[in-house]
């Protein structure tokens, strides 16, 4: 991990200065703000079984699919297209350090985006709610939901980085990330909804499907349940994707 800190600092600085990241941040805040706004409107019309904060987090897949690919698509694809990646590899910086620096920079940016969402429910609660009123959102749900974003974001960003390593086209990298994240988010729910019990030969799928239930993980985090299984799933997935990214960078150069 030679030069990791130098590279991470450079990547964070670049992430902060890149106009496309600012555009992605604007898109993110517009998306999340709109979702939150409509959720508040719905709750104001009639009592709902969910709070606006819960509703916003339940739709986390929307910014995940629309914004996260924009953050990761350029990381390797663009550098490879410009040739700056091979120039970087002529230094003593290790490939692992390069991959991890780009990954952490994108993950921090993703987390910062979600932190920028925090003022929405906090300001709403301050303006419209009362201290004991949890109809606008339970603080536990808010912090639990954020924890889910932080932990699952590791795997989601790692998938984006891996997709960016596989191609020279940033657009193709974004598309690959979109499809993979869509598959990952939908997979658990889709498999769960299948009548697996009636297909005995598919019975073995029941348990893996239970591990992949992304929305279940969100609910667990939001209700304060800290289960080690999703943590292990996201961490091992992250390490696997980053390991494959290192191999892809070394192999392709």
């Amino acid at each position: 991990m030679h030069h990791f800190r130098t590279l991470l600092w450079h990547e964070l600085r670049t992430a902060f200065l890149t106009w496309s990241n600012w555009a992605a941040a604007a898109l993110f805040l517009i998306l999340v703000g709109t979702i939150h706004w409509f959720a508040i409107l719905e709750c104001s019309r009639a009592p709902q079984p969910w709070t606006p904060v819960e509703a916003t987090f339940r739709l986390f897949w929307l910014p995940l699919l629309c914004v996260l690919p924009l953050l990761t698509m350029r990381s390797f694809a663009e550098e490879r297209r410009q040739g700056t990646l091979s120039a970087l590899l002529t230094t003593t910086a290790s490939t692992a350090a390069i991959v991890w620096a780009k990954f952490l920079s994108a993950w921090i940016t993703w987390v910062v985006f979600w932190l920028a969402f925090l003022p929405f429910p906090l300001l709403t609660a301050a303006r419209l709610g009362t201290p004991s009123d949890t109809r606008l959102g339970d603080p536990a749900t808010l912090w639990g939901g954020l924890c889910f974003i932080v932990v699952s974001g590791l795997l989601h960003v790692a998938i984006g980085i891996l997709c960016s390593c596989l191609t020279r086209s940033a657009t193709l990298a974004a598309l690959l990330t979109f499809i993979t994240l869509l598959g990952l988010t939908a997979a658990g729910g889709a498999i769960e909804s299948l009548p697996i019990e009636s297909w005995t030969w598919l019975g073995w799928l029941r348990e893996p499907a239970a591990h992949l239930r992304t929305f279940g993980h969100l609910e667990d985090f939001a209700s304060g349940i800290l289960d080690s299984r999703p943590l292990i799933l996201y961490l091992t997935g992250t390490f696997l994707c980053l390991g494959l990214s290192v191999i892809a960078v070394e192999g392709k150069e």
């Binding site: 030069h3 450079h10 890149t18 040739g83 590899l89 003593t92 290790s94 150069e253």
Partner: protein
């Protein structure tokens, strides 16, 4: 920065280097070396495998077989150490468009293990050496002209005072003034760093390099000092003579002073003057007495000149012959 380590025999050594892409052979059995402090021109027609070789030497591409060493360190087995001694500027000199020159060079200096306390000084020094201070300082790389971008690439290569500098077409796309500047800069590195430079501008290489390595279709066809290659590849001296004498008259005289010489008429000039070409071995003493003998014999002579065989002629002669014909160094 490249630490002082015992000086190896060869700063760059390629031993039987081979790279294949499936059935396509990019380079095959390539063996050559660059001595410390030496400037070597790496020549070959388009597609000969120059860039592939340079990429393998720089560690950005793996060879299929063979060995490559930079300052005695194996590129494949000890990549970090070999990279510590080496700087590589690729052909199209890729640079990030959205960084300022100083920012980019500072980042590269840190990535090349320059002592953090010395980074600012080193950046200033290479910017001065590459004439970047006046016109490129504080500007985004994306706003620079091709010439200045090349200078930034060379400045980057010199940042960590490497033992070996590999430059792939450093003067491509530059105007004559810029080429002159870069040529002087490269020349100033002689004795300090081993430089392996590929270029299509043969005149350029001839002016700057101590030695040339010529490859064709991925195989070594010649290597050595220009003078040695001239003797090896172009063993004959060619004289152009403008005279009123007849071919037979001139032929008799030439054969008298050098038995193996040949003469042919290559043209006519107004007023009965003819242009002849006399070829004789470069080692022949008649080379020095031909003009005197012609005058002594009373041959009407207006012009006599030995044709200078430049690197261009050597390059053409070398790339024409098959790799198996080359003599081993």
């Amino acid at each position: 920065m490249a630490e002082s380590s015992p000086q190896p025999k060869a700063a760059v050594a390629a031993e039987s280097l081979t790279k294949r892409y499936g059935n396509l052979v990019a380079i095959e059995d390539l063996t050559f070396s660059v001595a410390p402090g030496e400037i070597v021109g790496f020549l070959g027609p388009n597609g000969a495998g120059k860039s592939t070789t340079m990429r393998i030497l720089s560690g950005t591409m793996a060879g299929t077989s063979g060995r490559a060493y930079i300052w005695g360190e194996s590129v494949a087995l000890n990549p970090t150490e070999s990279k510590r001694h080496m700087a590589y500027m690729p052909e199209n000199n890729p640079l990030p468009e959205d960084l300022k020159v100083e920012e980019y060079l500072s980042l590269r200096a840190r990535l090349k293990d320059v002592d953090p306390k010395e980074v600012a000084d080193r950046v200033r020094k290479v910017m001065e050496d590459c004439d970047l201070v006046r016109r490129a300082s504080g500007r985004l790389i994306g706003q620079l002209s091709k010439g200045f971008r090349q200078r930034v690439g060379i400045a980057d290569a010199l940042l960590a005072k490497p033992k070996v500098v590999i430059l792939d077409e450093p003067t491509i796309g530059l105007d004559p003034h810029q080429i002159l500047g870069i040529r002087d800069l490269i020349r100033s590195l002689r004795g300090e760093m081993a430089v392996l430079i590929s270029s299509h501008i043969l005149h350029e290489v001839e002016q700057v390099c101590d030695k040339v390595v010529i490859i064709n279709r991925g195989r070594l066809v010649a290597q050595g000092k220009t003078e040695d290659l001239r003797r090896e590849l172009l063993p004959d001296s060619v004289f152009h003579i403008l005279s009123r004498a007849s071919l037979s008259e001139l032929s008799a005289l030439c054969l008298k002073i050098e038995e193996s010489s040949t003469i042919e008429k290559i043209g006519e000039v107004d007023g009965g003057w003819n242009r002849y070409q006399v070829t004789m071995p470069s080692q022949s003493p008649a080379r020095e007495t031909l003009a005197g003998s012609l005058i002594q014999a009373g041959i009407p002579l207006r012009e006599i000149a030995e044709q200078h065989c430049g690197l261009e002629d050597i390059f053409i002669a070398a790339t024409r012959r098959s790799p198996s014909e080359r003599s081993r160094p």
